[in-house]
C-alpha cells in the first residue's frame, strides 16, 4: 500500500522541488556587466587567456566568488570576471543633477520622504542651499560648474585614448 501510493508521490514531489532550487539560485545570483566592455577569463587572474568578451548591461550567472573574482557562466561558457566590473543590477545610464527636471524630481522626492525634516525649504532649489552650506569655509561652486561644462562622451574618450598619433 505504502509503496504503491506514497513512494511515487514522494519521488514526483521531490523532483519538482529539487528542479526549482537551481532555477531560484540562478535568479538570485545574476550579475550585470557595468563597464563598457570586459572579458571573461579562463582563470581568476588578469594574465589568463580571455574566453569571451562581454559588453555593458549583459547578464551573467554567478557560480561563486573567490578573492574579488566572480565565477560566471555566459553563453554556455564558464569563466572568471573581476568583481569590480559587475554589479547586482543592470546599468541604467548616467544620473545627473545638472538637468533641472532631474534636480526638481530629486528635491520633490526628498520632500515627500523627509517632510518632517524639511518643508518649504526644499522648494527654493538645491543650488541656493548648496551655496549657503558654509559661511566659514571658501566654496567655489563656479569652479565646479566650469568643470561640469567640460563634457566628453566615453566613446569619444576611448577613441582618443587608443589613438597614438593625435597630439596637441
Amino acid at each position: 500500500m505504502f509503496k504503491r501510493f506514497f513512494i511515487p508521490q514522494i519521488l514526483v514531489i521531490l523532483a519538482l522541488l529539487l528542479a526549482g532550487v537551481p532555477a531560484i539560485s540562478a535568479l538570485a545570483d545574476e550579475v550585470f556587466v557595468q563597464s563598457q566592455r570586459a572579458s571573461i577569463l579562463t582563470a581568476p587572474r588578469f594574465g589568463a587567456p580571455a574566453l569571451v568578451d562581454v559588453r555593458q548591461g549583459e547578464r551573467l550567472v554567478s557560480e561563486g566568488k573567490e578573492k574579488g573574482w566572480y565565477k560566471v557562466s555566459y553563453a554556455n561558457q564558464h569563466g572568471w570576471i573581476f568583481g569590480f566590473l559587475v554589479g547586482p543590477q543592470a546599468p541604467e545610464g548616467v544620473v545627473s543633477l545638472l538637468d533641472k527636471a532631474d534636480t526638481q524630481q530629486f528635491a520633490e522626492g526628498a520632500r515627500r520622504r523627509a517632510s518632517g525634516f524639511t518643508t518649504a525649504a526644499a522648494a527654493r532649489g538645491l543650488q541656493d542651499d548648496r551655496r549657503r552650506v558654509s559661511q566659514k569655509y571658501q566654496l567655489d561652486y563656479d569652479g565646479v560648474e566650469w568643470m561640469e561644462q567640460i563634457s566628453i562622451r566615453s566613446e569619444d574618450a576611448l577613441i582618443f585614448m587608443t589613438n597614438q598619433e593625435e597630439a596637441h
Binding site: 566590473l85 543633477l97 569655509y137 565646479v144 568643470m147 562622451r153
Partner: protein, 277 residues
C-alpha cells in the same frame, strides 16, 4: 481515489516545509543582494554631496581654468572610467593650482590632480595611473561608505533631507558631513585598506585601457621619500610608499601581468599637452 487525493495533499503540505526553507533561503539571499543595490536617490545624494565637497576643495586650492589641458585630463579620465563599475556617474577631471604632489576625489565623480603631481609625471600612462587610483576611490564609494551616505536612513536624518533642507541645524549637519569628507581628503586620509584597494583597481583600469601596468609603481617611486613641503600632505594621508609599491608588485605577480602585451605610454602626446602649459 479519494484516499490517494488526500494523501497527496497531506504529503505536499508536509513537504512544503522543505520548500519553505528553500524559499526563505532564497529570500534571505535576494534580500542581501537587494540591500547592496542603490536607488536613484542614493546616487543623486552621492553626486550632490560630492559637489559640495568639490566646491570646498576648489575653495581651498584654486582651479586651473585651462580648457585645453582640462579637456585632455577629461579625455584620459573618462576613457579610464568607462572600464569602471559606475556607469551611473559622469566623471569630471580638473587641475589644481598647487605645487604639492597630490590628487583628490570627491564622491559623485569629481577628480582633481595638482600641478605638482603633473610635473612629476613622465608620460600619459603615469597620469592615467593617478586618475585611475582616484576613480577607484569614487567607484568603490570609499567616502560614501565611511560616512554612511545614503538618501535615507532609519534615524530620519537622511542625506537627502540634509541636502534639500535649509534651516540652520540642517545646514550645520550637512556642513559637518562635508567637513568630515574634507578632513579625510586633506588630513586624516582614507583607511589603509581603501588606499591599497584603489591601487589594485587603478592598476586594473590601466591594464584594461591598454596603458603600461607598471605606471602607478613608476610614479610612486619618483615621489621623494624624504618629507618635503611638496609631499608632506601625501605622506600624512597615504600609507608608506614602500608598502604601496610592494602590494602593487604582489598584485602584478599574482595576476601574471608579465603575460600581458606591453602597455602604451603616450609620452609624446603627454609632453605636447602638459609641457606647453
Amino acid at each position: 481515489m479519494k484516499k490517494f487525493f488526500w494523501r497527496s495533499v497531506i504529503l505536499i503540505f508536509l513537504l512544503s516545509g522543505a520548500s519553505a526553507v528553500n524559499a526563505s533561503d532564497f529570500r534571505a539571499r535576494l534580500s542581501s543582494q537587494l540591500s547592496q543595490k542603490r536607488n536613484l536617490d542614493d546616487i543623486r545624494a552621492e553626486i550632490s554631496f560630492g559637489r559640495d565637497v568639490a566646491a570646498r576643495i576648489l575653495g581651498t586650492i584654486p582651479l586651473v581654468r585651462d580648457e585645453a589641458l582640462t579637456l585632455y585630463l577629461n579625455r584620459i579620465g573618462v576613457a579610464l572610467a568607462a572600464s569602471a563599475n559606475r556607469p551611473d556617474l559622469a566623471f569630471h577631471f580638473a587641475l589644481l593650482d598647487s605645487d604639492t604632489v597630490n590628487a583628490f576625489a570627491a564622491p559623485g565623480g569629481y577628480v582633481f590632480v595638482t600641478r605638482g603631481a603633473l610635473k612629476l609625471m613622465a608620460d600619459e600612462a603615469e597620469l592615467a595611473a593617478v586618475l585611475a587610483h582616484e576613480i577607484a576611490h569614487v567607484a568603490s564609494r570609499h567616502i560614501v561608505n565611511e560616512l554612511r551616505i545614503r538618501s535615507q536612513d532609519t534615524t530620519g536624518m537622511s542625506l537627502t533631507s540634509l541636502i534639500v533642507g535649509s534651516s540652520d541645524p540642517v545646514r550645520l549637519a550637512l556642513q559637518q558631513m562635508v567637513d568630515q569628507a574634507v578632513n579625510i581628503l586633506f588630513k586624516r586620509g582614507y583607511k589603509q585598506q581603501d588606499e591599497f584597494e584603489s591601487d589594485r583597481i587603478g592598476t586594473m583600469l590601466l591594464v584594461f585601457s591598454g596603458y603600461d601596468p607598471t605606471a602607478l609603481k613608476r610614479y610612486l617611486r619618483k615621489i621623494p621619500t624624504l618629507e618635503s613641503q611638496s609631499t608632506k600632505d601625501l605622506s600624512r594621508t597615504h600609507p608608506p610608499l614602500s608598502q604601496r609599491i610592494a602590494k602593487i608588485e604582489t598584485f602584478a605577480r599574482q595576476n601574471e601581468f608579465f603575460r600581458l602585451k606591453q602597455g602604451t605610454l603616450h609620452q609624446e602626446r603627454f609632453e605636447s599637452y602638459v609641457r606647453s602649459h
